[in-house]
């Protein structure tokens, strides 16, 4: 029974990781950008929610609604004025620029908010739990997982069912030819990064309610997110969810054996999956 419990906790944890990863997956799918600052942008979003919640004395869920357009704008500006200028055949500039951005955001937050641990407080919901067929699960982890599924479902709908999604896919296929269709790739990329930041804000909301955060935790979250994206198969959103769940379950199982092994098990699972399936579980196309 304890194993089923561990498994369920792991799956739910995977939901959080999938939320971390969904934005990355989208951005990679559209513009082949590997954003090393994504983890720090999630932490930035958490601080935005915290600031809004404190200043206006709001519940973090309400504060997040205000933070979402702010973060969309952050993503849009970042892409338009910085990232679009370094996208290209050479992989080095975007990697190094996002790496620099990561350090700047991390230390900027450190200057502004100090290294103290913070938390978003959502009231009694944090302690509530429900029983699912004999396994007791917290409402927050459950909500996180459900949100992850909804977010990925929504992203998929956007990607495959809307005019915007059509532009995303076409731009990803052939950046020059979309110009002949009247589509400006730089605008498409800016919107994609804006959406990725919206997802990052949702991830930040759950991150901040479920655990303490401080400016330094971005890179570790970034790694979990990337692991989820890579083992899920590049460009596949549902694959990203599966990847998140695999990392989450591995961490939970590892922790059940020895608490010191939690993080290590997640990383090892990543390596093992890639050794068996070099292109991940659900690769979208032959990149």
């Amino acid at each position: 029974m304890i194993w089923i419990d561990t498994l369920v906790q792991g799956v739910l944890l995977g939901g959080l990781y999938a939320l971390f990863a969904a934005g990355l997956s989208l951005v990679f799918g559209v513009m082949r950008l590997v954003n090393l600052a994504h983890g720090d942008l999630i932490v930035l979003a958490a601080f935005v929610i915290l600031s809004v919640a404190t200043a206006l004395n709001l519940n973090p869920f309400v504060a997040a609604v205000i933070a979402i357009p702010v973060m969309f704008a952050v993503g849009w500006v970042l892409q338009t004025y910085l990232l679009n200028r370094v996208l290209g055949d050479d992989i080095l500039p975007p990697l190094l620029v996002t790496f620099g951005l990561s350090v700047v955001i991390q230390n900027g937050l450190l200057e502004l908010f100090s290294a103290d641990s913070r938390k978003l407080t959502a009231g009694s919901i944090e302690a509530e739990s429900v029983s699912l067929g004999g396994v007791t699960v917290g409402v927050m982890p459950l909500l996180t997982f459900v949100s992850a599924v909804l977010v990925i479902f929504a992203l998929n709908q956007i990607f495959y069912r809307t005019k915007l999604g059509r532009a995303f896919r076409a731009t990803s296929d052939d950046r020059e030819a979309v110009g002949l269709m009247g589509i400006r790739p730089n605008n498409v990329f800016a919107i994609a990064t804006g959406i990725a930041m919206v997802v990052a804000t949702i991830a930040a909301l759950y991150l901040g309610i479920r655990a303490n955060f401080d400016p330094s935790i971005g890179p570790a979250r970034l790694l979990y997110a990337f692991e989820a994206v890579i083992i899920g198969g590049l460009g596949s959103l549902w694959g990203t969810l599966a990847g998140g769940v695999i990392i989450g379950v591995s961490q939970a199982l590892g922790a059940a054996i020895n608490p010191e092994w939690q993080i290590l098990s997640g990383h090892v699972a990543f390596v093992v999956v890639l050794l068996v399936r070099p292109r991940g579980l659900f690769p979208r196309s032959k990149d």
Partner: protein, 344 residues
Amino acid sequence: MSDPRKITRLIQLMGLAGVVLLFLVPVIGSRALVQDLFGVLTLLILAQNWNLLAGFAGLVSVGQQAFVGVGAYAMFACVILLGMDPLVGIAVGGVAAMLLAIPMAFFSFRLAGAYFAIGTWVVAEITRLCFAQWKALGGGTGTSLPKGTTKTMFGVPEIKSWLGGSSSAASDALTYWLALILALATLIAAYLFLKSRMGLGLQALRDNEEAARSVGVNPTRLKAWVFMLTAFGTGLCGALLFIQITRVTPEAAFSVLDWTAFVIFITVIGGIGTLPGPIIGVIVFYFLQRTLADYGTVYLIVLGCLGIAVMLFARRGLWGLFTEKTGIELLSLRQLPPTENQAR
């Protein structure tokens, strides 16, 4: 005086004089200066290795801290568990890092393009977490070198009797000289390597992988060699660093900020893909760190912004800008006869 070749000659002579001066620092300089410069030189070694990896072989690793950490831990294991001299431990550290590079390459080379960076980073994290389990070396809290180890290190008594002063100062001098020699050796080795058949193949690969393949360059094998060799250099440097620090913890030995992030910025700002780049970068870094020392993490923000600015406006860094503006080249890797060079 406007003749670039004359200026080049002058700079080369100044460089030579600088090297001689650097060798004399422990004799004529203060101990604080020796320690400061030790820090600079070790960063330079790490930057040179990363530059070879990312700037020449196109392997953007964010996992170099793995090699520093393994080098450091291997040296500690030699001293504490096997009772060896730390200097032997340095060599073992280099070899250990190279051994780690084999499975690491096997794994991360599967990840295409930018995801290679993530792969190396994950492997570095795994290595850190594994070493945190090594109870004989203190597990997660780490351990120190036994008291007096560095004072009785091979060569220290001799240096002490030669220079005078304390044993600690003599051991600082020794590690300093080792760092200087390693930095110079790395520079010369990199130059000779890049001028060699393999090195030319590597640069051909950077320009056009298909063409390079068609003239018989095996990209994967070549890159794997560079990965292993730079791992060796980085491991040596890691072991050397921690002889001076004398205390090792998983967090410090596998720090992504100290051993990879700084190194990346140093190389990028100085000029990635150029041999003098890391030297310029490390000088800029040193002065930034000193000037902004009182403002907490501000220098990190400045460093990050500088790195971004370089990528936006001058992809070959400060050295690239300098070369472009003046026509002066040092350690040039271009295969052009000097007359044509002058005609530019």
